[in-house]
């Protein structure tokens, strides 16, 4: 019935590759009632852990190491608290709005039939895994996406405003876009390819970050004071855990321990390494020195760009996507940002926004039928790139407008920025009464 069908669509969006290649998930391919596969379940349980590890401690450290000593704890706190708050929110209503039948508005948003996980029983399955595991896996995506935005607003946003913003943003921006692409919404039906969330996660977070840093304004002292990173060791740990965890994100999006997961793992590893090298060598060329922050940033750029493509492209495509992301994000996060003068503090837009867009479009170029069941430009399918662009635009527009409105309302109600005194003292002491010794 509708209900089961919906679940299958939800799943199939993630495993388009598998489905079209038509076999990787036999229990999905046929219509027989799916049965639990312990191997697929084992991998998805693991994937959920990996993606959670991306947020905490991964993302928290990646960002925390880049700010000044007086603000490190506040960045960790923002990330950790966001993870907790959105976990509860997702269980209560997020999952339902993302992955259930939304009735007449289904193209845009899901319904409330699974509020508080109603009807998501112990034995209910999604494909070959327990639906509860599928829900947990999806939850980790829903909580890391808003957390990514933190990089744009560090050192100056009020903690109370941050918590409210994150909650509203997840429900108003993330959940709908997730439904559009993976929940049976209009982008899925229009054939947009997004294997693991280049559009849903990264473009979304990147655009929101850009809007947020513009609305908030620059950090006090930006351009004058030194804002050199406190401790890049933390950033390196974070980048590494993001890389490792990302296999849960990308290969996990195959929803099983199948050949598609193998493809996603391979392309992810290749693109990431290539992007890191591309950023490092660009920097070496331009500034004369290769830096740790550069190579780590490049790796993240590669991970972002391969996310929508990982289940659709082959190793060669992954190499090119990685190279493009490394160079593209390097240019945007250094030269261009400087030129335009906005303070996207930790380059959420420069890395996730730009990397996500590069990846989304190149997915339409390098998709290989034999790998992901979809042909791209190089295989003569001229239709896909425009579809990808259309998917990007839809997301950019909705995300930008909604984010702007949410922040403006907060700005003129409770206020979104701390006092300058607090900013000078540092948020660790000012907001949380704690400090690093």
């Amino acid at each position: 019935m509708n209900f089961n069908g919906l679940k299958r669509i939800a799943a199939s969006a993630c495993t388009a590759a598998a489905l079209y290649a038509g076999s990787a998930l036999p229990s999905l391919a046929q219509d027989a009632a799916p049965t639990l596969d312990t191997g697929d379940t084992a991998w998805m349980l693991t994937s959920m852990c990996l993606v959670l590890m991306m947020s905490i401690p991964g993302l928290a450290l990646f960002y925390g190491g880049m700010v000044r000593k007086k603000n490190v704890l506040s960045v960790l706190m923002a990330t950790f608290a966001t993870i907790c708050l959105l976990t509860v929110l997702y269980v209560v209503v997020g999952y339902s709005m993302a992955f259930t039948e939304g009735g007449e508005y289904n193209s845009y948003i899901g319904g409330f039939s699974k509020v508080m996980l109603a009807g998501v029983g112990k034995e209910s399955l999604t494909g070959t895994i327990p639906e509860l595991v599928f829900m947990c896996f999806q939850m980790t995506f829903a909580i890391i996406t808003p957390a990514l935005i933190i990089g744009a607003i560090v050192d100056r946003m009020k903690f109370s405003a941050l918590l409210i913003f994150m909650s509203v943003w997840m429900l108003v921006v993330y959940v709908p876009v997730c439904h559009w692409v993976w929940g049976g919404g209009f982008l899925a039906n229009d054939g947009v390819l997004d294997f693991a969330g280049g559009t849903v996660v990264h473009i979304n977070a990147g655009i929101a970050g850009l809007v947020a840093c513009l609305v908030l304004g620059r950090r006090t002292g930006y351009g004058n004071e030194s804002m050199a990173p406190f401790n890049l060791v933390l950033t390196l740990i974070g980048a590494s855990l993001l890389w490792v965890g990302w296999f849960g994100f990308n290969a996990g999006s195959a929803l099983g321990a199948n050949t598609t997961a193998g493809v996603a793992m391979t392309t992810t590893q290749i693109a990431t390494a290539m992007a890191a090298l591309a950023w490092m060598f660009s920097e070496w060329l331009v500034h004369g020195k290769p830096s740790l922050l550069g190579v780590a940033s490049g790796a993240i750029a590669g991970l972002v760009a391969i996310t929508p493509a990982c289940g659709f492209v082959d190793p060669k495509g992954a190499l090119v996507i990685g190279a493009a992301a490394g160079v593209g994000c390097y240019i945007m996060s250094t030269g261009v940002k400087k030129a335009l003068g906005y303070d996207d503090s930790l380059d959420v837009f420069g890395v996730h926004g730009v990397g996500g867009i590069i990846g989304a479009i190149l997915t339409g170029v390098f998709a290989v039928e034999a790998y992901g069941g979809k042909a791209g430009l190089l295989e003569g399918n001229f239709a896909q790139v425009p579809i990808q662009v259309y998917g990007v635009l839809a997301t950019v527009v909705w995300c930008a407008v909604a984010t702007f409105v949410i922040l403006m309302i907060l700005k003129y109600t409770i206020g979104i920025r701390v006092s300058e005194a607090a900013e000078v003292e540092g948020l660790d002491v000012a907001l949380h009464g704690e400090s690093i010794q």
Binding site: M66, S226, M227, A228, P229, H287, K289, S291, L293, G294, S297, S333, T334, G335, K337, K338, D347
Partner: protein, 112 residues
């Protein structure tokens, strides 16, 4: 008594300490400081943002000595701390009017 304050290059600390103890000076206090001077610093670049680091790590050695020993001490420090490279540092001499050893209450030269 005089306070001799020497700003030196960090990796010279051990040599300076030995030079002073060889003179029979049994105590000194050192502080990690940052120095600005003729020796130029370096630039750090993080995602295209350049920061000129004009303050370089130095070590400040403070030793209070009986006036009689100032000359010998200055000498010893200079010999030990010298590399001939720019940035070797300075030595300053200033007066100390009174000294107390907290443990015993001994005063002045006996307190050193």
């Amino acid at each position: 008594m005089k306070l001799i304050t020497a700003i030196i290059k960090p990796f010279k600390l051990e040599e300076v300490r030995t030079a002073l103890t060889d003179l029979g000076l049994q105590g000194m206090t050192v502080t990690e400081v940052k120095g600005y001077g003729r020796q130029k610093g370096h630039t750090e670049i993080y995602r295209g943002a350049e920061y000129a680091v004009s303050f370089l790590p130095k070590i400040k050695v403070e030793v209070v000595v009986p006036s009689a020993q100032v000359e010998k001490a200055l000498d010893a420090i200079q010999r030990a701390a010298k590399t001939g490279q720019i940035g070797d540092g300075k030595i300053f001499v200033s007066p100390i009017e009174h000294t107390v050893r907290i443990r015993t209450g001994e005063a002045d030269d006996n307190a050193l």
